[in-house]
Amino acid sequence: MSAPGSPPSDAPPPAKKRPPHPIRAYGDRRDDGRIQLSFTLPVAASPRAREAARRFAEAMGLRAVLVAAMEPAGRDYSFFVVYGRADVTLDYGEIEVPEVTLPEWGWKEINKVIKETLHRKVVVVGACTGFDAHTVGIDAIINMKGYAGDKGLEAYPWIEAHNLGAQVDNAALLERAKELSADAVLVSQIITQRDVHKENAAALIELARKRGMRGLLFVLGGPRIDHKLARELGFDAGFGSGTKPSQVAGYVVDRLVARAEGRAPAEGRE
């Protein structure tokens, strides 16, 4: 997707072989593999239930299983806390995860970069889409107040931010983005049941492609979202829990600047 000689800034780094780095879970001593888990079985608490829990953990591959607690969580349900040794060794050197590369900019720098490089306001439209009525994520990013002491996008003089709120239909979101000549579309998906958040997010990108609007930046956020998943669903970037507004603003501005300088073509435009 990138032009020769100008890799986009969030492409995976060039394949650089890392040295082998075997790791195991760390409990009390290095490489002891000790882990803890908790689960419920739909049977009344009893010595048989305890044995069932032990075998359940063994079947998951745990050794030296200790059923630390068996609690009756109702007449026909038992809650277990279990410790065991996981004989799993991973080579950490082989693990690659795409990460959003973010400039370390604060509020001041972001406004300065927009003013001096783009010479115009950046327009951002955000919404919770589909059935999702929980605006806490999109509010934290867009509303003036922001999140964890980091001001929201509305507080940026060089960003024009529109928060469309909850339960916004995909088509209506794109319609509004078009009217406002938006540069970026922020989508928040908090609530999910049986992966409906994924289907809905993917449907938005599909619709954007059909309408010739995939050239906009599409950013997905939510507690079950990471960059990898967002990329798989067709978004430009994904942000999970704890993301600050300045990180989203920094990402959007960095990409817009990169495009303006011809360093990175927009997806769907090459």
């Binding site: 689960f39 969580a73 109702g74 059935f131 806490v136 964890a148 709120g165 999910t192 409906v196």
Partner: protein
């Protein structure tokens, strides 16, 4: 419990201001009806069922009269005319209203006396139905223990599987673990539906559809379980959104104990038209009052969008306004579960002191009200161990300040709708805290020069100042300006305005008359 030293004249001024704010809107409420109010009237008369596309008969009827511009006469006027003309019962009469080739224009034919006479036995039957449900609830309550730990907050948990049969199983398990109150969370889209879905349902989004049949299924499970446990189990659902009064009626009929019902929540958080919500809340609360249910108001939500330190006074302001509206609908204090929440940023020094201050203040301002204490949601993370500790402090404040109804915090808040084990862990933790701190309230003495007292006085003074502003501007204008929860809602914006209809001079609604005691 020692009281915080606050100025009673400020409290009195808040109540007077809130009364004036509510009165300012009531002239509008009294002159209007809504399609959901009229559908509720039909439901009260026993009209039931849906067409093969799932459209309830009550919707088909009312929409027809909205279209012809006659809804302002009241659907009862037309139902009564169909009865006077020979329909066997209200169901048959409603079918005539919905499907007769000609829509009745209300002219000629049976006169008011004949219509009233035709409706009178059915009006009596409607009221009997919810009176009987109330009597049945009160008799069950009389026979059983009131809660798992009397004298401490009721333990309220939510179930939200999407499948009503799983919900019923989870409700039983929660009750066995010690829960007193079970709320079935609604599917997130439901508040914006302008009809009540029909029948038992097994798929939902983030919750389960509220239907009359689903209410029955959960109540039956709780009835059976409470007899085994020897203590009464309370059922909760949501009378909010575009079908506020209809859900209130269905809840009354099916013996629900509590309904989420707020005069302003739908406006602020679901972008429902302000006029629509304020009319709907009145009729729905008339039903709640008669049926002896408890409302839960939604002020906790303000703190999920606005900051809990800066906006604490908006919660108190809204509680006074909710109380004023509830009084005008005939509720007694014991039916007003005013809401608030443990939502202050957990990284703030002395956040616990501010939480105690607010909880104690609310307890004192509304002494007979079953205050609803809501857990942290905003400042939580996927670290369930940390989250469980936050809930421990929340439980401690709840018991120490004698909150009435406590929605237990879940360690998996912000991850998923609660697993069975999450509910178990929350109930077990709360039971420990409530036992350990059972009489803590009796021991607490407030430092008159300390942070808790200063904060309570400040919040109350700020609430009074805001009430003065709302009184000056009027409630509609204040909401439009974004006074509550940082959300701005213009009077003619939002969903459902089309369903607000001005009453004609001859407007007829014998159900409302009976509920108003006329």
């Amino acid at each position: 419990m020692q009281m915080l030293p606050i100025d009673p004249s400020v409290v009195e001024e808040c109540r007077d201001l809130a009364a004036r704010v509510a009165d300012g809107v009531h002239s509008f409420i009294d002159r209007h009806t809504t399609c959901s109010i009229e559908r509720t009237v039909l439901r009260a008369y026993g009209v039931d069922g849906a067409d093969p596309d799932g459209v309830p008969l009550v919707n088909t009827c009312v929409e027809r009269f909205v279209k012809t511009g006659h809804a302002g006469c009241g659907i009862a006027w037309f139902l009564g005319r169909a009865l006077a003309r020979g329909a066997a019962d209200p169901q048959e009469a409603a079918e005539v209203l919905a499907y007769a080739p000609e829509t009745d224009d209300g002219e000629g034919g049976p006169d008011l006396a004949a219509v009233r006479a035709a409706l009178a036995p059915h009006t009596a039957r409607a009221l009997e139905r919810i009176d009987r449900a109330r009597a049945c609830r009160e008799s069950n309550r009389g026979l059983l223990a009131p809660s798992s730990q009397p004298g401490t907050p009721l333990k309220y948990v939510i179930v939200a599987t999407g499948n009503i049969y799983d919900d019923a199983d989870q409700a039983r398990a929660a009750a066995q673990a010690g829960a007193d109150v079970i709320a079935v969370i609604r599917s997130t889209a439901q508040s914006l539906l302008d009809y009540v879905p029909y029948g038992a349902t097994t798929e939902g989004f983030g919750g389960t559809w509220a239907t009359q049949e689903n209410f029955r299924i959960v109540r039956a499970a709780l009835d059976e379980e409470q007899d085994r446990l020897g203590r009464y189990l309370q059922q909760v659902n949501y009378s909010s959104g575009l079908c506020m009064p209809e859900i209130a009626w269905l809840g009354a009929v099916e013996r629900l104990d509590m309904l989420l019902n707020d005069a302003m929540y739908g406006i602020l958080f679901r972008d429902i038209n302000p006029r629509r919500t304020l009319c709907d809340q009145y009729f729905s609360r008339r039903i709640v009052a008669r049926a002896g249910m408890v409302i839960n108001t939604g002020e906790d939500n303000y703190l999920t969008t606005a900051d809990a330190v800066e906006a604490a006074h908006t919660v108190v302001t809204s509680q006074f306004i909710n109380e004023a509206f509830a009084r005008r609908a005939g509720l007694v204090d014991e039916q007003m579960g005013l809401g608030h929440a443990f939502e202050i940023d957990k990284s703030l020094e002395d956040s616990l002191l501010y939480e105690i201050s607010q909880a104690q203040l609310v307890r004192q301002l509304f002494p007979r009200h079953p205050i609803k204490w809501m857990p942290a949601t905003k400042h939580k993370s996927g670290d369930i161990f940390w989250s469980h500790r936050v809930d421990g402090l929340f439980d401690l404040v709840g018991v120490a300040t004698q909150q009435s109804i406590e929605l237990l915090g879940m360690m998996t808040e912000s991850i998923h709708t609660p697993f069975l084990q999450d509910r178990f862990a929350a109930i077990k933790g709360a039971a420990y805290t409530f036992t350990a701190a059972r009489h803590l309230a009796d021991e607490l003495r407030w430092n008159p020069d300390g942070k808790v007292v200063a904060r309570a006085r400040q919040v109350l003074a700020d609430a009074r100042d805001l009430l003065r502003v709302v009184d000056r501007e009027g409630l509609f204008a204040a909401i439009a300006r974004g006074v509550f929860a940082d959300v701005k809602r213009p009077e003619t914006g939002g969903k459902g305005l089309g369903g607000v209809v001005e009453k004609t001079p001859g407007y007829l609604n014998p159900i409302l008359e009976a509920l108003e005691g006329k």
